[in-house]
């Protein structure tokens, strides 16, 4: 096997397949994650969680637990009544939101199994956990509703007083009347109920937090497993504690995966900070996997009633989706924003659909909180659209590839406004046919159809499934996403500070926060390319609110398309200043100086030059600068993108379904993605591969299951089917490259495409395999039992 890692060069490293600069500490065990933190005098926190999905708390007796050896203190919700409930920072726009959010510990009532009601602080983790069983809670169990559609019926148990029929919000986008009329007049209308099941995101590192409090200054330091430490500080100080943000420092150490779950402010983070203050001790809490499954946010969980209208030639004329989105027993930080803005507004997919309408009912049920999970709304939208296209193809007996081609937004239609449902945004750039034809070539489509026909003769079930997706990332223009627009309670620009030190070494501090994406490498490549310094001369710092500019963090595939653009912009100003300083040093006019490859030189006389190291030294020392010029090469950029970016591509799954058992065997997986310009192909490959496995896992294996009492039956890795190394064939990847015109780097974002695209590709493949039996849909996950039952039913 040949190595594809190139020598690190001083220039043009954008696009280089460079190995990651952050890896040495991770492959040697030196990287420090939350649970690796040990503060002097630290005590440990364990949390008592509700065993009931819906119950009143009539009283809590902590006396026996307090008497347990090693226990420092036992606390209940009443000890933290002075702290506000957590904020819901993204409410659905243009709709009333009936918001109920968690408290540090719940006081009188719980609405899901796993809600925290008491906490033990002890000298050791074992002592804290031992004492939990000594806390006595007087529970009064209440009637439970778990089913999404049952929850909105009259007479269902009411979870929160203000939310009638348990409806958090009733949100619409698109044109209901026009879509209704178009469906009435359509040559064919296909209706389908689609379940997008609940998933447990399962970052390998569970959540945790540690905190200390300094009474003399009133300052908190909080370490947490977070994708967005600045946002955590903002939400904790301004909304929960009611203290100035300067009184809290939030730090994300190395974070072991997040997939969205570590964006949010959780009750435990507030609790741990408050306990540090209350006990006067540094404290740490680390969640177990079963706590992670009950108390950390879940993803997806939609039921959608789809209607799609088409002409007999396969042209889609209307799409209507009525979606029930399960938001759990109580709202997580941005729960209502995910199934609205990031779902409904993407229901045009890669297609020119003249009439679209979507209604979303956000619903409370006695289940765990649901919020963004990798892809966040776009996988759900892509599933609806890509299944819709296949249903049209099936109904009209057309090739699903041809139906896609007939409806594609053509390359000359960009920028494209999908009939207003993006509320003012437009798809930036795209060439959907190019990615599709490359993928078809890779998979050998015509040969496959011949092979499939032959297999069908033998009674074998081979299938091929397509997903020609488009997604939205690089979130987001602040004016569009904010309270006046999509209801997000803040901006979504991103920040970067670039300092070139006296020696020419560069330090970049950013507000984004890596939890596996390789930001240190990517940012270093941008700096090295622009400034012409060796990659190894660049240090990237983030993760700590002390010493980094405010930033919104990492989610929505925004770190490349928003975060590195801030770095790029700061570098342009650094270069301009470097030219001015060099002109002074060379005693020439600044207009005669060019900057390239780490040197400022006189036009037409490249030998008359100063290196960036010489310039940085002169700027830092400040002995001899141009008149009026401040010392030091230092610049901070706050970049607010003018638009989001819209990556796209084609994913193809090839499967064989075992006729006797219903087992689905994934034979091939081909993906051609277009994420715009690529900064590091090695990293993008990794992101796409990981995303594909997560997305196919939803199609075939994963699903959170609650029983009718609201108990999570899939509460450990014993029951929840996370894919292992032996369930996937080698993924075949390629890319097309259609740069975005939204930012100067041309990058769109690559963190979620795999997850967004792959789920419908796999489902479409299984349904295609079973076409001879007349099966047109099976709900996920397509486990052997589900598939076998569908086959039995079809066979009669």
């Amino acid at each position: 096997m040949t190595t594809q890692v190139e020598e690190q060069t001083t220039t043009s490293v954008i696009g280089a397949r460079m190995k990651r600069v952050e890896d040495p500490r991770m492959i040697t065990g030196a990287a420090k994650y939350l649970d690796d933190l040990k503060l002097p005098g630290m005590a440990y926190v364990a949390i008592l969680r509700s065993p009931y999905a819906h119950a009143r708390i009539n009283g809590i007796d902590t006396s026996k637990a307090e008497a347990h050896p090693g226990v420092v203190g036992v606390y209940t919700g009443k000890d933290f009544e002075h702290l506000n409930a957590l904020p819901c920072a993204w409410q659905a726009s243009g709709a009333d939101n009936f918001v109920a959010t968690p408290r540090a510990l719940e006081i009188d009532r719980v609405t899901f199994t796993g809600a925290g009601v008491a906490a033990v602080v002890a000298e050791t983790r074992a002592a804290a956990e031992d004492a939990l069983s000594l806390i006595e809670v007087d529970w009064e169990p209440l009637e439970v509703v778990v089913d999404l559609e049952r929850a909105v019926e009259e007479g269902a148990p009411q979870l929160h007083e203000a939310a009638e029929r348990n409806i958090v919000m009733d949100w619409h986008c698109g044109d209901e009347n026009a879509t209704g009329k178009a469906l009435e007049g359509a040559e064919v209308v296909i209706e389908q109920r689609l379940v997008n099941q609940r998933l447990l995101p399962t970052p390998l590192e569970p959540r945790g937090a540690a905190a200390q409090h300094e009474p003399s200054t009133g300052e908190y330091t909080v370490w947490m497993t977070s994708q967005a430490p600045h946002v955590m500080r903002l939400l904790m100080t301004a909304f929960v504690f009611g203290i100035p943000e300067t009184k809290m420092r939030c730090i994300s150490p190395a974070v072991g995966g997040g997939f969205g779950t570590k964006i949010f402010l959780y009750p435990e983070y507030v609790l741990v900070a408050a306990l540090a203050e209350k006990t006067g001790r540094p404290v740490k809490w680390m969640e177990s996997r079963s706590e992670n499954y009950t108390a950390t946010t879940h993803g997806r969980d939609h039921v959608t009633y789809l209607k799609v209208g088409a002409k007999r030639d396969g042209t889609i004329t209307a799409l209507d989706a009525k979606t029930y989105a399960n938001l759990g027993g109580i709202l997580s930080t941005i729960a209502p924003g995910i199934p609205t803005t990031l779902y409904g507004r993407m229901l045009s997919g890669a297609y020119r659909i003249p009439n679209i309408h979507c209604q979303v009912l956000g619903v409370y049920t006695n289940t765990g909180m649901v919020d963004a999970y990798r892809g966040a709304g776009r996988p759900e939208a892509t599933y609806v659209v890509e299944r819709a296209v296949d249903l049209v193809a099936r109904e009209l007996d057309l090739d699903p590839v041809e139906v896609r081609r007939r409806n594609f937004i053509p390359p000359d239609a960009f920028p494209y406004d999908p009939v207003g449902i993006l509320a003012g945004l437009e798809y930036d750039t795209g060439d959907y046919e190019k990615a599709l034809s490359r993928a078809l070539e890779m998979v050998g489509y015509e040969d496959f159809r011949a092979e499939q026909a032959a297999a069908r003769e033998e009674g074998r079930y081979l299938g091929i499934g397509f997903s020609t997706y488009v997604e939205i990332c690089g979130v987001a223009p602040s004016a569009w996403i904010g309270v006046g627009g999509q209801g997000w309670g803040a901006g979504l620009w991103e920040s970067a500070n670039v300092r070139v030190h006296l020696t020419g070494k560069v330090v970049v501090t950013t507000g984004s926060q890596s939890h596996g994406q390789g930001h240190e490498t990517t940012v270093s490549q941008v700096v090295a390319s622009e400034l012409g310094v060796p990659v190894e001369d660049v240090t990237v710092e983030s993760s700590d609110t002390l010493g980094t500019p405010f930033g919104y963090g990492t989610y929505g595939s925004r770190s490349a398309a928003v975060g590195t653009v801030a770095v790029y912009n700061a570098l342009q100003r650094i270069k301009a200043k470097a030219r001015r300083v060099a002109a002074h040093m060379l005693e020439v006019d600044v207009d005669d100086v060019e900057y390239e490859g780490g040197r400022a030189f006189v036009k037409g006389s490249p030998a008359t030059a100063k290196t960036i190291q010489e310039i940085a030294g002169a700027a830092a020392l400040g002995y001899d600068l141009p008149p009026g010029e401040e010392p030091f090469l230092d610049d901070t950029s706050y970049y607010d993108p003018p638009n989001c970016t819209f990556p796209f591509g084609t994913h193809i799954a090839v499967v064989e379904v075992e006729g006797e058992t219903g087992e689905v065997k994934l034979l091939r997986y081909v993906a051609v993605d277009d994420v715009g310009k690529v900064i590091n192909p090695l990293i993008v490959d990794g992101q796409v591969q990981g995303g594909i496995v997560q997305g196919v896992a939803q199609a075939l294996w994963e699903g959170a299951v609650y029983d009718e009492n609201g108990q999570l039956l899939t509460s450990s890795l014993m029951e929840y089917a996370v894919p292992k190394a032996d369930v996937f064939p080698k993924i075949e990847l390629d890319r097309t490259e259609t740069p975005t015109d939204v930012n100067p780097l041309g990058v769109k974002g690559a963190g979620e495409t795999g997850t967004i695209a792959s789920t419908p590709a796999a489902v479409n493949a299984v349904v295609d395999a079973l076409a001879p039996l007349g099966i047109r849909h099976i709900d996920m996950p397509l486990t052997p039992e589900r598939v076998w039952r569908a086959m039995q039913e079809a066979r009669g």
Partner: protein, 156 residues
Amino acid sequence: MIPIALTVNGVRHEAEVEPRTLLVDFLRDDLGLTGTKIGCDTSLCGACTIHLDGHAVKSCTVLAVQADGSEVTTIEGLARGGDLHPLQEAFWEHHALQCGFCTPGMIMTGVELLGTNGDRLTEAEIRRGLEGNICRCTGYQHIVEAVHAAAGEVTR
């Protein structure tokens, strides 16, 4: 409390532990070797994999007292004299890690796999051999490539 003595990464340690102390907690909390990770409660994720007397084991499934008299290697002890183990190099080279949390356990399992089958390892054998370790980030493909590459390296 029970007295135990064991050698970890070539260093002999004597300690007293509660009978219920798991080896992983002893390594992390008592010896400060936090490279070994904990990712589940059910011995399924493999993040805590170490070598006990030369074999890859999940250290959350072993009591510290059971390791009395044993030879333990953790991720911190894998690089010898500042030189990375070929599998560590291969993980770096092939981008076989993203968040890095499964990586120590994955590497320790991979090292045993290399020792048992060397360069005759097929892709299917590697995938089967890594079945006890969960990675949520990479989709495993780069990990499999890294083990494959290191297999050639180790036997050369």
